[in-house]
Structures are given as structure tokens and as C-alpha cells.
Symmetry: C2
Subunit: 216 residues, 2 copies
């Protein structure tokens, strides 16, 4: 289920297999005359909405078949146990901004198609393919494996080589990168801290690191 005006309209123009669109006002959809669209009352809409402040438009859609893709040249991203759907949505949007069109997720990450996650991507879920995989299946083909940790070398001295396959591992909000995955990290990196906050959230840390690694 995809909720929100921007996301539903992006979905509407994609080649995804949409079953139904429900809205409180036909003008919320780019084509108000679509056969897919049903208009409902605000009170009926609230019954199916996942949000406290309903957006007034949602779509029900099929999900593309899961793909089994592997690493590309340049930067690849692996999320280890990300459990907050808002963080995952933000990270997908960031990946899309920086031109990553796929993202690897450990099997225990929150569901990519959770409606809060989808909504947080602001449409980027249509362009970033989720691939669920264990880290150890990916690392043999990686030239280097960066890991975001608190005790690594400065991010500002790190960069990627676009002719090689680099993998960036981001750990969960509360547990970081899991113990058994640490052995696969070949370069521990850290965002240097000036002030006193204990940590940054996973979405923020991912954005800063990708920005620096890609544009060093």
C-alpha cells in the first residue's frame, strides 16, 4: 500500500501493477478520470489509512518479484538490521539522490514495503531495488568493505575507486554492525565529532558518509 499524493502519482506513472487507488478527492490524482480510482468519504478513508494525519490518497499495488542482483562498480550499500521504517525510507531516498539504484538489506531489516517506509522515500522506492541478502554472500566479490563504526579512521580521509566494487555497511540504530559481520569489514570509518552528541541516527550517518565517499 502506497500512501501520499507524491508517492501515489509517481507510482501511477510507473509500470508497477496497480490494483486500486482510493482518494477523498479526484484532483489528488494526476488523471482524475482513471479507471483505477475510487472516491471515498474522509471517514471511510481514515479507516484504511496507516497515518494519524491521512494524506487523502493511497494506492494498492503488486510488488515486483525479488531480484538477486550482485555488487556493481562504485559504491554499494548494505544495511545491517535497520529496524526503523522512517530511517529505512530516508536511506532509500538518499540512495536515490546519489544515484544508487539498488540497496542490500540483511534479512532482519524492517520490511522495505512497510507503508511508513514507502511514504518516507517520497517516491524513491520506485527507483531503488531492495535485495535481501546476508553480508557474507556479498563480501567475496567486494574489493573493499567500509563499515561505519565509532572507532574507525576519519571519513574525510576515505574515498572510493569507481573502477572497483566498494561496499558500505551501515549498522542498526541501537546495535550497530552485528558482531559476526565485523570480520568482513576491511576499512572502519567514522564521522569525526566536534560536539557532544553520542551518535547520529542511521539515516543521517548514511547520508554524510555516502556524500563524502562518492564526492571525495
Amino acid at each position: 500500500m502506497v500512501e501520499g499524493r507524491k508517492s501515489v502519482n509517481e507510482l501511477f506513472h510507473s509500470d508497477w501493477d496497480i490494483t486500486k487507488i482510493i482518494a477523498t478527492n479526484p484532483e489528488l490524482l494526476d488523471n482524475p478520470h482513471s479507471d483505477l480510482l475510487d472516491i471515498v468519504s474522509e471517514s471511510d478513508y481514515k479507516k484504511v489509512s496507516q497515518f494519524d494525519t491521512p494524506a487523502g490518497i493511497l494506492a494498492v499495488t503488486g510488488i515486483p518479484k525479488p531480484l538477486d542482483l550482485s555488487l556493481k562498480k562504485g559504491l554499494n550499500l548494505f544495511l545491517d538490521g535497520i529496524s526503523d521504517p522512517g530511517n529505512l525510507g530516508t536511506i532509500i531516498r538518499v540512495a536515490d539522490w546519489y544515484g544508487l539504484d539498488q540497496i542490500f538489506l540483511s534479512p532482519d531489516c524492517v520490511d522495505f514495503y512497510n507503508s511508513k517506509c514507502i511514504s518516507g522515500t517520497m517516491g524513491s522506492f520506485l527507483r531503488v531495488i531492495p535485495i535481501i541478502k546476508d553480508l557474507e554472500k556479498l563480501t567475496p566479490e567486494a574489493n573493499e568493505v567500509f563499515g561505519s563504526l565509532l572507532n574507525g579512521e576519519s571519513l574525510y580521509n576515505s574515498s572510493i575507486d569507481n573502477s572497483k566494487k566498494s561496499l558500505l555497511v551501515i549498522g542498526s540504530e541501537s546495535h550497530g554492525i552485528r558482531e559476526e559481520n565485523l570480520q568482513h569489514i576491511t576499512r572502519k570509518i567514522t564521522i569525526p565529532r566536534i560536539g557532544k552528541a553520542e551518535s547520529l541516527n542511521a539515516g543521517i550517518a548514511t547520508a554524510i558518509i555516502i556524500d563524502r565517499l562518492i564526492n571525495a
Copy 2:
């Protein structure tokens, strides 16, 4: 009202004027014998919690008197109409990470002391002072005013001079920097986009820009 184990314990060790702490389990507070602490049942706790998934500990505290501080040397941050408490909380945490100890807010920003905002700061609200002010009151003392816009020069060519007073203006999630404030911007900057996402959220954009301006 401050909710969540980490935030309440940071508050507990600060010099803020705490009225009362309520928890479902005394072990959630660093000093379970504190006179401030009342233990309540989980069902009673849920009645006062602001969250769907209650943290089990909250504190009621006085708020420090608003201060009227002005720009410091180095980077200063002004938020123009930020309305999402989660974004504001994230930005306060980022400001704290990069050593900013004050933050300027337009009068129509969401309340700094909104409980979702406070919770999102993960304790950083104790170290970052909010100052509510119109932008035009600040710009006369700024040596340069950076504005995050979609049509500016590349962020990667921008840096600040720590001997001068620089001000970074971040606009709201939906409207950007408001029309009447644009005239005060002396340097329009943009995070270069590689992929297709239309925008980044305000918290993410703020983090990437601060990281680059401070550590150029």
C-alpha cells in the same frame, strides 16, 4: 515533558529544574532511589505517554528562560519554518554533533519543546540553545549568509571562514526558504544530485551541508 530512557537520564544529570519523573520500572533511572521518581503501572503510564510505543520513563521539567543571543564566529544555523518535530529533533542532534551550541528558529517553526522533537534529539536539547528570531534581525551582523536552494552553486566549492560569522539558512520541508528571506541570502548553495530523487529531507540536507561547510 521529556520521554525515553536516554533523554530522561541526561536530563536527570543536568541542572534543569525537574518537577517529577514517572517510570514503570525504577531501574530505568540511573538513581532508582531519587525523591523525584514515582513508579506507576504500565496502563497508567500509557495514559500520559505521547508515543504509540511507550518508553516507560518520562520527566516533567521546567524550561530555561529564553535567551537573546546573537551570532558567533564560525557557522551559525537558522531554520526557516521547519514544521516537522522529527526533523527539528534530528537537526538539533546534528548541531550538537558538530559542536553548535545554539540554533536560531523563525517564530513559526514547530515548538522546540514538542515531545517528539525532544525525544528525537536523544538528549542534545540539553546542550543546544534555541533562539527564536526573525532572519532580518540576524543578517546585519553576518559576514555571509548561505542558503540551501535547488539552484545554487555546488556545496563542494563552499566553505566557511572560522574568523568570520557565517549563517546557514535551511528552509522548510515543503516551502523551502520563504520569499521575503531570499533577499538576505548572499551565497546560494546546492547539494549536487547524481540520481533522481526530487529532494532530500530537511534534516538530511542540513547534516550534509554542515559536514561540508565545517570540514571543507
